[in-house]
Symmetry: C2
């Protein structure tokens, strides 16, 4: 942050204009992610320093000069979001004046340059009013709340041939301390999201006006210079590397050429790395210590390191010689930046073009995915993707809420993501992956402990790790079938042929889903997804029952009981509820509905065993509370509880597949809490690691475990995967499990409550449930789902309608994927209610309009409409 | 690195002793990992600085004083491994003198203190000889190659009641520059492993002699003070945080209290984190900027931050007042360190005790795993584990080579591990996990590209991602069976019952293994591992052939053809080979053996289809070259090639299961290169990510892919896992694939060769193959395996023998797991030949002795022995 007295005679003109003036940023308030539209067409870089006093502003000045005076000159916008020591220190003023000064020494083309501060603390303003106009020449000129100066260098501005250098300080505080201390002492607090929003708005302003040829004249470069070091606090106290992370601007890191500078530079680089920044180049002052050699060697030439000549301690001519000496280096640096910028754009385009030629996407009919609809994801920050788009020939990065929670895995907000990232670096460095069987290491141990204290509390005593939901279910099935065989005396033979057993099946529900490996598929009822073409070995090894479901429609929780139940004489009290809580009530255990369920379940089991005494039901497997993949159907908790009760009576092991429902997805750490009954075995995955890395676990009771103890290895559970209990997965799970349930880290947990706050505003939920086009709504925990009403039997139409809604909502900044005719929002356990409401409002708006259109277009007339609504 | 003139009158005695003297470290040369035995009983900490000049030595001095003068005093060993500016600057001298001086100001108990330098550069020695004895008082006394001084404070040393402070500088250079520059200018190069070995040896010396009550008197504290900042280079140019990483000593980080110090401290902390260090506390000089508040807030109270009073710029009394003022802080810091130390030990013990009560280990009969044999892994560094042991009542960390490559996953050496760790931090921060279907993001895209350019080169055009070998195989089977149905007109019906097809099976080899999920199990021939107890649904959906195998014994590569082949009349030339290269020769394609294979294969296929025309072979699935889990059996490559040829003729899709063999495991990037034939589908996992994180891929040709294209989603491959193509896994794979094949990063790759150097010294391999107790040896790529000869039919005995060998080799620093009666070593693709030879020598020694005993104990007499050997 060099402070060099400037000579007044360098400036041709200086005007004082009232605020606001010239450039006006467009504020976009509705998105919490500020760079909701970042124009990538313009090379935009962030200047970070590996320490204070390493010469960030000199580097900014050098780059800006190169941009304006190179062979392909461009406009340049320089932004210093946060300045302390202001106005005595003002980096934007330095850049403005020094660039003008340097350009004047050559044969300048027309350059218009200006500098201003947008907001200054009261202390700054008080100091400013005390200054006489005589001091203006010292650069402290203030008029009202804003300081503004401008100048023109060379000729040609009037003919629109010139270029602009716009320098801005967004916030200025008087005291030369860290910004968070300056706020403490001088006020003018700025929270992170506001600062980001303002920076984002300024990054979006058009610099080249119409008259001057507009931005089309060439790329408009944008440089954002931070304050202090990479991890120095900003005004709110957040570290700048965290504060600006949502923009993820490519970084020019100003290294440290002094003794100790290798360490400072590498550590700063690594702090940027573990926040997902791309560092484009390192530039440092050469002080004879050859720090650059160590840096290049350590970084394995991953990025260029530029060395500037030493800055004279007592500059005889205001550094003009130094800048002249450095100009080739800055121009090389600018070339590297430009080349990086072009490659980045090229790479985003190439990926979109080539992806559908080399990927084989899961669950995807490639014929339906033309190149244009491929989504290019640049990065994620907490709940949001940053997505590449081309709009009106402009390259954009657009923020979209990941409403499908990346296949229901996601948990982290931006803070947890950073914490997890560092944890992942640590675990990889400490353990990489280490072998699990007969071994123990801290993350695996802590993870198992937390699982047993959390989702396994009160029943589980053993943890078997695997990689995904499918394998967790395969393991659960092996456990359950063994336990059943053990309990029912069906052991002691080599294979099923010699056993006298015709078949062991599972008891499962229609519409339930447990994964795509063959064993998991076998526990799923036949659908078009299990046909011969999908797997010729699938046979459906289950007794599959039809479950009663629950749906919110017209603001009421309605029970829907399949025809196969003897359910003719139920009243409104049996079938309608005002809240989910009522459905959970244990009073229902002795209701008519319960009796009806009991008779259905026991009849089914009886029929099955009557058909062949050598056929057995060896396990119950259910997705508690909600059938996820099956279409977000809410199952009557009473029915699932009764299934478990009946199976326990018959010593049939009970498996809860909580891969989807576990870890607060449905508002409780385990969905079993909602059912108020316990399994013998349960499967977890997805959210377990917070949503960052694959890991799964199958939990079991000690009696299940004991069915595998014995004097032979062949009695053991001979199942395992290479990365069983891998350290990084376990470490992520430990961090996430603790984070989610701790009220000090998760704002949605109240002390002692053990459940999430209601994240979806029930007012909107109920209103949406009353719309004509909405068949049902589900709102539980982090999940909000809507089933679009199909017109008649025309499901295809409905699905198409869902798709069009999804497209609209993507435009609104919500990345959705439909599940047939169901659309849904899924947030993380620590996503704020405010964020959820913002999303729900967008959905409400779209679905209301959609519903109006739906009514109009309906082929059914008013009569039908009246019947339904 | 404070340099404060010391007053001579502080020292009671000063002796000059010839080198060597007093303490002698025990050098352990055979292990490349220096801390092969680190005594954990003694609290041992590393003092790192977040920058130069932040007061590391003041902190060391304060802690040492607290250790020696606290309520529970202990001996203290202080080591400065690397000192530049020596002897004018000497941190060990400062600690020695200052602690003595401080203690003298109180009522000291008996303290013996000494300081010495172990090695000094010529420039240091030259300077020293120029010094007159008058200068000795300035602490520059040299006699021969060593500087030594000692003193006694207080009384009681003679009665054995006192304590010792031993201060050491291991290497001293004269110029006050970074150590790597000092080496450049003054010589005395020290490579990293030597420096680590020396430091390790000094850390192992016994400080409290017998007379003084020994180390049992109490813990002997050890402090190691680094030079400069966390990432400052050491003598070889390696960063100190990398150089000392194998010790992974807990860290006291000296923070920076100056402006910019928050950033410097956090970045330094993060550089330690992404190298797997545990930072115990941060301590910094308070300079009124309240940096500690920001640090505590950012670190979420994960670790304590201590604030020292400002160090007077012109210390009036040699800082004695400052140390007195700081003494309570240092004593609190020491308490935190002690408490951390005790918790660490406690936690290692607890984990061993509790692990077998909460884990359900894969492939493990828990009844056979008593608590004592559980291995507690503290960390890994490259190829080595650091394992906790208790020996003679001492807590030890012992280094062991991970010879089972953690279930065959491992690839990284220490350098790649650090690179991958940073990459993992970056990917987690940039992407976390983002949804894959219909999307693209850089790591997934680059990973797919590299797979297709590498292991898929010449045949594959599509990549389907999953999580592990099992799922990759399940997907491969779905692909192959569909492709077969498509090619043979077996599509167009809903399920197998309506198809008129009785069954579609796979063609596979006995002893082959493809994973533990049901679908993968079905492709495996029945064994005791697939019995009713393991999975009542397993039926064995294959035509399973017996393969001819290859084994090195008596220095010769022998072909062993099963009896079921018509192989009576083969000669020595057909069955014996001098190298694996001969076995690979395409000349064998027209040999008698080839004709024999052809007739066996075609007869088997004919018989199968003759038995029932509605039964089909829908896929060939093989593990190319070696059956891993089946016991490291090498299959005749000619036979596997002919199987592929015959299947291709019949339009049966060919699956290579390369989960084990892929990515250089067998010396080539793909084992298909050895077979010299191409699959239609191949599965990869394990080493793909370098061995750090689960990820798997199934590669396929475009014609396979096209069998899933169509106008309905139901024709698509409806298979997927939550974390499909997760960003971190793909990023690790990209890094590792590039690293392994690049000669500039992998020393085992020669330019243009495309294969690994021979890692196992064939001299030893052949010698081992000739030992009586050795049935066969396999040496290929990173794999070296030995099958112990079973005596008669007593396989149990042999297995037991293998177990005892494994136990012995663990004592030698090799962590092995037997595979039945097979023991093996498995290194990474970039492990040095030198390292491999070191391990092979140990195995050779043990197996030779074992073999001698085996011969003696043999129940068969000399006659039998002669027959065999």
């Amino acid at each position: 942050m060099p402070h060099i007295p400037l000579r007044p005679n360098f400036f041709l003109r200086r005007r004082y204009l009232p605020f606001p003036f010239l450039l006006q940023p467009k504020f976009i308030h509705e998105h919490s992610f500020p760079s909701s539209e970042l124009d990538l067409s313009n090379p935009t870089f962030m200047i970070y320093g590996s320490n204070t006093g390493v010469g960030k502003t000199l580097v900014s000045t050098g780059i800006a000069t190169s941009i304006l005076s190179g062979s392909e000159p461009s406009h340049c916008l320089y932004i210093k979001p946060v300045q302390t020591g202001f106005p005595v220190d003002s980096d934007s003023r330095f850049v403005y004046r020094k660039v003008s000064e340097i350009l004047r020494t050559g044969k300048p083309r027309g350059i218009f340059a200006s500098n201003r501060v947008v907001k200054a603390s009261k202390e700054v303003l008080n100091a400013a009013t005390e200054l006489s106009m005589d001091n203006i020449e010292e650069g402290l000129g203030f008029r009202g709340s804003c300081c503004y100066e401008e100048t023109v260098v060379g000729k040609g501005m009037e003919e629109g041939k010139g270029f602009k250098l716009i320098c801005l300080t967004l916030y200025g505080w008087k005291e030369a301390v860290s910004p968070h201390l300056a706020v403490e002492r001088e006020g003018m607090a700025v929270d992170d999201s506001l600062l980001r929003e303002e920076l984002g708005s300024w990054l979006r302003v058009s610099v080249g006006g119409e008259k001057d040829g507009g931005d089309e004249k060439g790329a408009v470069w944008r440089l954002v210079e931070t304050a202090g070091g990479v991890a120095s606090p900003g005004p709110s106290g957040s570290l700048q590397c965290d504060l600006y992370r949502p923009f993820r601007l490519p970084v020019i890191l100003v290294g440290d050429g002094r003794l100790g500078g290798i360490s400072a530079t590498i550590s700063a680089y690594e702090s940027l790395e573990v926040r997902g920044y791309d560092t484009v180049a390192i530039v440092l002052e050469g002080l004879g210590l050859q720090n650059e050699i160590s840096l290049l060697s350590y970084l394995r030439n991953r990025l260029p390191v530029f060395v500037l000549p030493p800055v004279p301690k007592e500059p005889s001519n205001n550094l003009i010689d130094w800048f002249s000496e450095s100009s080739k280096i800055f121009s090389s640096l600018q070339e590297v930046m430009l080349s990086y910028h072009r490659k980045r754009i090229q790479s985003l385009h190439d990926m979109r073009k080539k992806a559908s030629n080399i990927f084989w996407w899961p669950f995807t009919q490639h014929k339906f995915v033309p190149m244009e609809i491929v989504t290019v994801i640049d990065s994620r920050c907490g709940e949001n993707f940053a997505i590449h788009k081309v709009r009106h020939n402009k390259e954009m990065l657009v923020s979209q809420f990941d409403a499908c929670a990346s296949w229901w895995t996601q948990g982290p907000d931006a803070i947890l993501q950073t914490e997890l990232a560092r944890e992942m670096g640590y675990s990889a460095a400490r353990y990489g992956h280490v072998m699990f069987p007969e071994n123990v290491y801290e993350p695996s141990f802590r993870c198992a402990e937390l699982l047993l204290e959390g989702v396994g509390k009160g029943w589980a005593s053993r943890v078997f790790f695997s990689d995904n939901g499918s394998t967790a279910v395969e393991i659960a099935l092996k456990m359950a079938l063994r336990k059943f065989s053990f309990d029912h005396g069906l052991t002691g033979f080599e294979n099923v042929n010699s056993s006298g057993i015709d078949e062991i099946r599972v008891l499962a529900l229609n519409g339930s889903y447990h994964g795509d490996t063959l064993g998991a598929m076998e526990a799923q009822a036949p659908t078009s997804y299990t046909g011969f073409l999908q797997h010729p070995w699938y046979s459906g090894k289950g007794l599959f029952l039809k479950p009663p479901t629950v749906l919110i429609s017209m603001e009421i929780w309605n029970l829907s009981i399949p025809d196969c139940f003897e359910s003719d004489n139920f009243g409104k009290d049996d079938l309608q509820f005002s809240s989910y809580g009522e459905l959970l009530s244990r009073d229902r255990d002795s209701s008519d509905v319960a009796r009806c369920y009991f008779s259905y379940i026991s009849n089914q089991l009886l029929e099955f065993s009557a058909s062949n005494p050598n056929k057995y039901i060896g396990a119950l497997i259910i997705e508690p509370v909600i059938h996820g993949s099956g279409g977000m159907h809410m199952i009557d908790p009473l029915f699932q509880r009764m299934l478990a009760t009946e199976c326990r009576k018959r010593r049939i092991p009970i498996i809860f597949d909580e891969v989807f429902s576990g870890f607060w997805r449905l508002g409780r750490e385990s969905a079993a809490e909602l059912l108020d009954c316990l399994p013998d075995i349960a499967c977890f995955g997805k959210l377990m690691t917070g949503g960052i890395i694959p890991l799964a676990a199958t939990l079991a009771t000690e009696t299940v475990f004991n069915a595998f103890r014995g004097d032979s290895k062949l009695i053991a559970l001979l199942h395992g995967h290479s990365y069983s209990a891998h350290a990084m997965g376990c470490a992520a799970a430990v961090k996430s499990m603790q984070w989610f349930k701790d009220p000090t880290t998760n704002i949605n947990i109240e002390h002692g409550e053990g459940k999430l706050k209601e994240l979806w505003d029930m007012k909107f939920v109920h209103h949406i449930s009353s719309l004509p086009a909405v068949k049902r709504v589900v709102a539980l925990g982090t999940l909000f789902a809507i089933e679009i009403r199909a017109k008649g039997a025309d499901l295809g139409y409905a699905s198409l309608q869902a798709s069009s809604l999804v497209q609209q909502l993507r435009e609104d900044g919500i990345f959705m994927r439909p599940l047939g005719n169901v659309i849904y929002l899924m947030c993380g356990p620590c996503t704020s209610q405010h964020f959820c409401s913002q999303q729900l409002i967008k959905v409400h708006q779209r679905i209301s309009k959609f519903s109006e259109a739906w009514v109009k277009e309906s082929q059914f007339d008013q009569t039908y409409g009246n019947q339904i609504f």
